[in-house]
Point group: C2
Chain length 206, copies 2
């Protein structure tokens, strides 16, 4: 729905953006019913407000083809297309460390399908990791309502193996339970994923 | 111009994006004639390829209002608007440090107008700086063909002063010459701005 100001100008919300993420079944607990991306955006807003971390979601890359410049009002994009990003969706800084991650959900119950990721995301996380950044994925099993943080090295391992003879195309939940960090739902922030980073940074500094 | 594939699908370039930056007078030296943003993107591609740093420009935030989903082809955005970003344009990682900056040009010869920046960009850089990030602006005096890197603390200083009694609305070139780092044009990378960061990081570690 388009909302207009009384002067006829279009109201543009500074926060919401149309995304292609499918809606997941709403859960009894309001926060659990939110989309993973919204849960993370809310958590990031909390971290920012409290001076804990500065982490933002990058805008969706859009290829603009045609723009109208009407007199006395804002430029209107008349034709454009969604593009694939060459990086991940989220990055920022926490405890002086560069943070970079991607967030994805699945309705599967036993494993996380690798097809949720793109080659360039894996490459990007690897590049950042080699530079000393903290890189990971936040994955949500929406049917189980369980969320995990898994360092990108583990994802890379499965990513590279998928083209070999055994051809496993997903990461088993049991592996994620063992090598990842489960993130509990809370009120504020909705998903306190930085807690897991404290452990990771702590281990690095040992 | 729109280019179509033989199958009628529209060709979308993975790199170029329509930007609102005005073209500057072209200089004799090809690299100098490029827009600042392109010079930086080229430099970042070089740094990435050589494994020196991972720094990307964020996509322009666009508010999508109307999307068509034609059968058997990509979604077409039919109405959208440019939005203001809540962060800066560039961020990434270099030597394990979080890097965050904004790039701007002016045709002025004696000072850099503060109106080139937005309040939220100043706030964002301050937040990142307080977290331990390296935050700065890369400013180009296009008429003089001189480019400087200036740490965001200096910009903040002038930004806050502009509303006081003396009301200076720009940073004098002489101040930038004294407190910033001049970046020389090169072939590859076009603008080797990480050199200045080596000095900054070096001073931090002292």
């Amino acid at each position: 729905m388009t909302i207009n100001y009384p002067n006829g100008k279009i109201y543009r919300s500074p926060i919401k953006e149309i995304t292609k993420v499918k809606k997941t079944a709403s859960a009894s607990h309001a926060k659990r019913g939110m989309k993973l991306e919204d849960q993370l955006s809310e958590s990031n807003a909390y971290y920012l407000q409290k001076g804990i971390a500065v982490i933002h979601k990058k805008p969706t890359p859009i290829q603009v083809v045609k723009v109208d410049y009407p007199k006395r009002s804002a430029a209107v994009i008349k034709e454009a297309y969604y593009r694939h990003s060459s990086t991940t969706d989220f990055n920022g800084i926490y405890r002086g460390k560069y943070i970079d991650f991607e967030a994805k959900e699945t309705q599967n119950k036993l494993s996380f399908p690798l097809k949720n990721f793109h080659e360039h995301q894996i490459t990007h996380m690897k590049q950042c990791y080699e530079m000393g950044g903290i890189t990971f994925v936040i994955i949500r099993f929406s049917t189980l309502n369980r969320v995990f943080l898994l360092e990108s090295q583990h994802l890379s391992l499965y990513w590279e193996k998928q083209h070999s003879t055994d051809q496993r195309k997903s990461i088993p939940l049991t592996y994620i339970e063992e090598h990842g960090y489960e993130i509990e739902y809370g009120f504020r922030p909705a998903l306190d994923y930085l807690k897991a980073l404290d452990t990771i940074i702590g281990n690095e500094n040992k």
